[in-house]
Symmetry: C2
């Protein structure tokens, strides 16, 4: 019998923005593994599954438990919100999977917050952009700082994941200060909280204003480039089409 772990991005949260492929694997699998918050988003749709649920910072344990159950013959779906390949579990499962050579790993992509959040704000990501996580739990702050500086210097649109938490209350402010070395304070910025979930909330402002806004780990931040403009209240980065 083939032993499988499917690493699934469920998208922002509602079933509507999940792909058919993700839903199909969730329906067919024996075991669903994930972080409590993400399991809560889907559990009602799949009441009869075996669940492996672990807390935050228990990612390694969770992945290893998923691989163990697959090794024992179960078909296992390991879920992340958004896309499992973007700050999700796909990388870790490949790293740990090397010790389970007869378990096949398949990544099933989902809508990452850059895309779902951008759609709520308008069309900020129409041209070259960067994704940067402000979490320094696993990336040194100096590296993050360098990436923010280079991204703004090259006039990328910038999307920030994990912009803040209780412990990192001033990180967005620090990031904005770096970006403001290269970008004008008047460039449009936006943020979306709880994308596609209960309490979804979006706001558009300037980069200058963004500095002073409180954010949490459920917020995704968008900072425009020199081309980004506001059109009827939407944040849009034109791509350069001639509008004859």
């Amino acid at each position: 019998m083939k032993k499988n772990v499917y690493v699934i991005g469920i998208g922002p949260g509602s079933r509507d923005e999940m792909t058919f492929r993700a839903a199909c694997v969730l329906k067919e699998c024996d075991v669903i593994a994930g972080y409590q918050t993400y399991i809560d988003l889907i559990r009602d749709d799949y009441p009869d599954k075996e669940y492996i649920i672990t807390g935050m910072t228990k990612e390694t344990d969770r992945c290893r438990m998923a691989l163990e159950r697959a090794q024992q013959g179960a078909s296992v779906a390991l879920i992340s919100s958004g896309d499992a390949g973007v700050y999700g579990m796909a990388g870790l499962i490949y790293q740990l999977g090397a010790a389970y050579p007869d378990v096949d790993i398949t990544v099933i992509p989902g809508i990452t917050a850059a895309c779902s959040g951008a759609a709520r704000l308008g069309a900020p990501l129409m041209n070259d952009f960067c994704l940067i996580s402000l979490s320094d739990l696993m990336t040194p702050w100096e590296t993050i700082e360098k990436r923010l500086d280079c991204a703004a210097a090259a006039d990328f649109v910038i999307c920030l994941y994990n912009p803040g938490s209780h412990k990192r209350a001033d990180y967005l402010q620090k990031a904005c200060a770096i970006i403001l070395r290269h970008q004008n304070g008047s460039v449009p910025a936006g943020l979306v909280r709880h994308i596609g979930r209960k309490g979804e909330d979006a706001a558009i402002m300037t980069l200058g204003e963004l500095q002073h806004v409180p954010v949490d780990m459920f917020t995704t931040v968008f900072i425009g480039n020199s081309q980004t403009e506001l059109i009827d209240g939407h944040m849009v980065t034109p791509r350069g089409y001639t509008l004859l």
Copy 2:
């Protein structure tokens, strides 16, 4: 009656990797507008729709025709492959939509090639990354060059869209040369052609080797950073978890 244009990302191409929301709007709408190649991907599933089909470089005409039909009272779905908000039609429709104030615009995100291609290769996008289009049709080459240089200097993983065409046969080679100023030729790179469509094809190599590989506009390219490694033939950028 409400007048609507839905700008829809249909994902890589197969219905499986479309979201439920995208499929639902396609089913309910009156008119589907798009570039011929993308219409061909979905037409069999929706035989009874009115279609607006235009060729490449006719993006402005296509968007305006979609807005006109909505203005007349039709519910119109304008499709892009991947995500409509990433090098797609979402920005242009907002720009042109300003002239049609009673038409509502809604963007429905889809799986962009960065995510669908990454899933085929392994997990290259687990840490901060950039998307850069090598098409200089609407962005000056100097800007693209600067972005490539900054992205590599900051050790971003880089995903390249539109890496080549008949007219731009050597652009990937030029891009690799810029990245090689900062990255070692041995960093893993990968490419995926026709993601999720007939003839899908993926390959993993080094950045040094990538320079000499022919690519076309249906290819998406992934260039690792200093952390990216090969694990059992997959391209993986570890995020820094402790594997105790």
